[in-house]
């Protein structure tokens, strides 16, 4: 896949590069810019600067302009056309004079323009909501200033005269060209009409008068309108009044009619009432009769009902009595129950009180028992503590005794070892001396034998002949004693003394020379020890030694500095007995330092207790604080504070700063 892509890339690259090359070779022709359309030229003519100035002056209507005013550089004269300029357009040349004369002459017949058609138009009445608009418009038209008469000037439409080429007069001073349009004399402005102001004033006055008249008319019209309105209102009021009167009349008539009707009705009602009363009376009488009858019936009924009620009441009374009796009995029963309940509660309360008292008594007894038990426990703990300390002391003493015994044993062993070594050395020495003596004896014996042999030989030689000693034949170049040394084990008597001694030493028996000669058991045991011995460390000074040292005025054991635990132990031990509740108010604000000494057993020396310093109060307060502190030290130190004996020198003298911080009294 990569090859194919590479080939594709190569092809594309080759094609692109080839195209660029071809374009570079042939592209110029293909991409050569096409010639554009030929440039068209127009013949233009140039004028000189003087001519231009003249034209400008003429256009402005000013006089001739001085030559120095010409700012245009004189143009070069046009050159003769050559073949090179064939294609170029010919420059325009100023027209000749005669050509100028051929132009149409301006029409000078009209001295002034015809403004007859220039009369102001009559104002048109435009609809407007402004009051008096029509009059304003007329007034505005009258106020328009009169158009002045047109001034004499160049005729409109007349062709401007062509510039005339000035005649050249080299001898005369140059004269500025003068335009035909130039005015020899400016027109005199038209004089203001003499009555212009008066006319204007008159017109203003007339306008004001008209305005006033108009306003007056308007006011009058308004007043008239108001009057008419008032009249209409009055008429309306009158009409309303008339109508009200009519209505009133109608109402009155109606009321009258109603009164008559009411009267009639009343009369009728009265008649009806009378009739009704009569009927009622009759009915009443009848009703009375009936009522009487009914009353008699009712009375009988009532009697019967009363009897029934009485019976009922009696029954109810009886029922109530019974109910009351029941309630009374119930209440009595309740009271009895309540009384019994109260008695029971009382008994129960009494029993509870008794039980409570008994419980309190038991609790008191229990507390006392607990207190006693606590005291006993504390005593037991203290005894146990003392026993523990004693046991520890005994153990420590036993350890010390064991250590001493071990030390003694080691010393004894060392002494034995030294004795053995000394014995060995003596034995070795003796063996060496014995060996030397033996060697000397042997040497003497050999020498004697040699001398005997030599003598025998000399005798034999003497007999044979006389001669000197020929040591060379014996091979004894040295001429001294010679011993045969045989290496290896099993050295014989002819062994060199030194070698014998060496052998004896190597044997390590320390025995005599014989044994040293024949015994080769190896180097001494101590020489064979490659590891250091595990001899015990020096035994620390025991208490006995401490006590003895103290008794003899010796130095105190210091040991390492007291650890934090040891210091804190002493502090807590005293703190647990320091009763700050017994301090006075003054003492509770003071700091008292108490100094004392401790025995090696940690028991404070009572006679050493003293005030080492105080602050924050009086001496009396310090004394009271000291008393409390002293009790604390003596109580908790009675059995001795648990302090390391090896550091006795560091805790023998103690100073305690009692600072009751946090006490509520402060």
């Amino acid at each position: 896949m990569d090859d194919r892509e590479g080939r594709i890339g190569y092809w594309i690259s080759g094609i692109a590069h080839g195209s660029l090359i071809l374009w570079a070779i042939l592209g110029g022709a293909l991409f050569r810019p096409q010639p554009g359309p030929p440039v068209r030229t127009t013949q233009v003519s140039t004028i000189s600067g003087a001519e231009f100035e003249a034209l400008a002056a003429a256009s402005r209507g000013a006089g001739p302009v001085g030559a120095e005013a010409t700012a245009v550089a004189s143009l070069p004269e046009p050159t003769t056309a050559t073949d090179e300029d064939a294609g170029r357009p010919a420059d325009a040349a100023p027209p000749a004079t005669e050509d100028v004369a051929a132009l149409s002459q301006p029409d000078v017949t009209d001295a002034s323009p015809d403004l007859s058609d220039f009369a102001p138009a009559a104002p048109v009445d435009v609809a407007t909501d402004l009051p008096g608009a029509a009059s304003n418009q007329n007034q505005a038209a009258e106020d328009a200033p009169a158009v002045p008469a047109p001034a004499e000037g160049p005729v409109a439409g007349a062709q401007p005269p062509q510039p005339v080429a000035p005649s050249t007069d080299l001898a005369a001073a140059p004269v500025a060209p003068r335009s035909v349009l130039a005015l020899d004399r400016s027109a005199r402005p038209q004089d203001r009409p003499a009555d212009l102001v008066e006319n204007r004033s008159r017109r203003l006055a007339e306008a004001a008068a008209a305005e006033a008249a108009r306003q007056a008319a308007a006011q009058e019209a308004a007043l008239q309108a108001q009057a008419a309105e008032a009249a209409r209102a009055e008429a309306a009021r009158a009409e309303a009044a008339r109508q009200a009167a009519v209505a009133e009349q109608q109402r009155a008539a109606e009321a009258e009619a109603e009164r008559r009707a009411a009267d009639a009705a009343e009369r009728a009602a009265a008649e009806q009432r009378a009739a009704a009363e009569a009927r009622a009376a009759e009915e009443q009488a009848a009703a009375e009769r009936q009522a009487a009858e009914a009353a008699e019936r009712a009375a009988s009924e009532e009697r019967r009902a009363a009897a029934a009620r009485e019976a009922e009441a009696q029954r109810q009374a009886e029922a109530r009595d019974a109910e009351e009796r029941r309630q009374a009995e119930a209440q009595a029963e309740e009271e009895r129950r309540a009384a019994s309940a109260r008695e029971a509660e009382a008994r129960e309360a009494e029993a509870r009180q008794t039980a409570a008292r008994e419980a309190e008594a038991r609790e008191a007894e229990a507390r006392e028992a607990a207190a006693r038990a606590e005291e006993e426990r504390l005593a037991a703990e203290r005894a146990a503590e003392e026993e523990r300390r004693a046991a520890e002391a005994r153990q420590a003493a036993a350890r010390e005794a064991e250590e001493r015994a071990a030390e003694e044993r080691r010393q004894a062993e060392a002494r034995e070892a030294e004795a053995r070594e000394a014995e060995e050395r003596r034995a070795a020495e003796a063996a060496r001396e014995e060996a030397e003596r033996e060697a000397a004896r042997r040497a003497e014996a050999e020498a004697a034998d040699r001398r005997a042999l030599e003598e025998a030989l000399r005798e034999a030689q003497g007999q044979a002949g006389a001669g000197g000693t020929d040591t060379a034949s014996t091979g004894d170049a040295l001429g001294g004693e010679r011993q045969m040394i045989e290496g290896g084990s099993g050295a014989s008597a002819g062994l060199d003394p030194l070698a014998a001694a060496l052998a004896g030493a190597m044997a390590g028996t320390g025995a005599g020379a014989g044994e040293a000669e024949n015994n080769f058991s190896g180097p001494p045991a101590d020489m064979m020890r490659l590891t250091p011995g595990t001899d015990p460390l020096p035994v620390p000074v025991p208490n006995d030694a401490l006590t003895d040292a103290l008794a003899q005025g010796g130095a105190l054991p210091m040991g390492e500095p007291l650890s934090l635990a040891e210091r804190e132990g002493l502090r807590f031990a005293i703190q647990n007995c320091w009763n700050i509740g017994a301090l006075s108010v003054e003492a509770s604000r003071m700091v008292v330092s108490v100094g004392f000494s401790l025995s090696p057993d940690g028991v404070p020396d009572q006679n050493s207790l003293r005030i080492a310093g105080y602050r924050g109060g009086t001496e009396a307060g310090a004394q009271q604080a000291f008393e409390v502190a002293r009790r604390a030290i003596l109580m908790c130190g009675r059995a001795g504070f648990d302090m390391p004996a090896s550091k006795y020198g560091r805790w023998r003298d103690v100073v305690v700063d009692f600072r009751p911080d946090g006490v509520e009294l402060q």
Partner: protein, 461 residues
Amino acid sequence: MKIRGLRAFRFPPTRGNDNAMFRPLILAPALLLAASAAFLPAGPVQAQEAPLRIEITDGVIEPMAIAIPPFHGDAEIAARVRQVVADDLTGTGLFREIPAEAHLARPASFTEAVSYEDWQAVNAQGLVSAEVTRSGENISVRFRLFDVVSGQPQGDGMQFDARAGDWRRAAHKIADQIYARLTGEKPYFDSRVAFVQETGPKNARIKRIGVMDYDGANILWMTDSSSLVLAPKFSPDGRRLAYTSYDSGFPQIRVMDVSSVTSRPLTQDAGAMAFSPAFSPDGRWIAYSREQGGNTDIWLMEAGTGAQRALTNAPSIETSPGFSPDGRRIVFESDRSGTPQLYIMGLDGGEPTRISFGDGRYGAPAWSPKGDMIAFTKQIGDRFHIGIMRTDGSGEKMLTESFLDEGPTWAPNGRVVMFTRVTPGGTGQPRLHSVDVTGRNMRPMNLDFAASDPSWGPLMP
């Protein structure tokens, strides 16, 4: 040639930054110290240079165990005297009596030697031995105090002679001595308290003034119940009582002689009301509150001549004056700042200085006989407190809290405060209570009737 056996010494590889270059710098001082230590004398052959110093800042708070074996001599009186002594000491909350049945030692006589080991075994710290002898109408009480811990007497023995009827005072005197020696505080047992007994319903209280021993014994009634009486105050010598009486229909101050139980009016201004009296330390002056025209101020009256003058003159209410022990200043209650607060002012004039600034209302101030503290009543919301503060207003501390605690008065030694506590409810009654300035040991007075307005008298000679 290759050298064998020669190996360069290399430091162990380190992680992170290689600080091997610093190792010699670290080792050098260590080696130097080791070298110096090598030259130090080895072994424990050196004397202690400085004592071991430790600091103790905390302890225990518990009553001191004290043994009070039966007193010798007249059995009846001795037993009663011993009981009063024991009650006095244990009532302070600072002592705990070791029960007699726990005693190991039974001294047979007052002069018998003390077996300290026996008393140490029962954890006694103090031992009281006493003897009471009676001769006719007189008694003689002698005692000795021993420090069991140190195994030696504490102070000298003392002897008090009194009438047989005053055996309680003798007991109080012994207790005072023991208390003073062991606590360092001044005694207060041989003193009396004036109070107001209250009986009847709340809307028709019947009040009368009484005087009793500080422990509630020997009550003497000073007034009858014919008129309303309030706020009795002892004179410095304890012989007089100043109190407020309504016998004229308006509160006026009267002074009573305690021994003869006779009184006389001190103020008789018809248009003014006088109340809340207080004696000066020398007994010559009486400061009180005087109300006239709707305004109440502090006035000062000379007890002998009756001459009086105003100490304050403000539109606010000033009341409850109390003298300082030196007699130069007074403390009083005033609402000039909007709420009742405590103020201190010199008797020679000057602007009062406010000393209470906490939340709540302050009132009924009482200056401690020691001059270092002022007790007061404080109300915060619907709760009342008895509190103390220093004379400059600092160190404010509440001692009690309840529905209604009021009217503190100081014991002669300035260590105990007595006050009135009213229980809530329709059947609530005022009771006298006492509390230590530490806030501990608050207990009611041993009275079987309602009482209020206590005034603690001086220590009797």
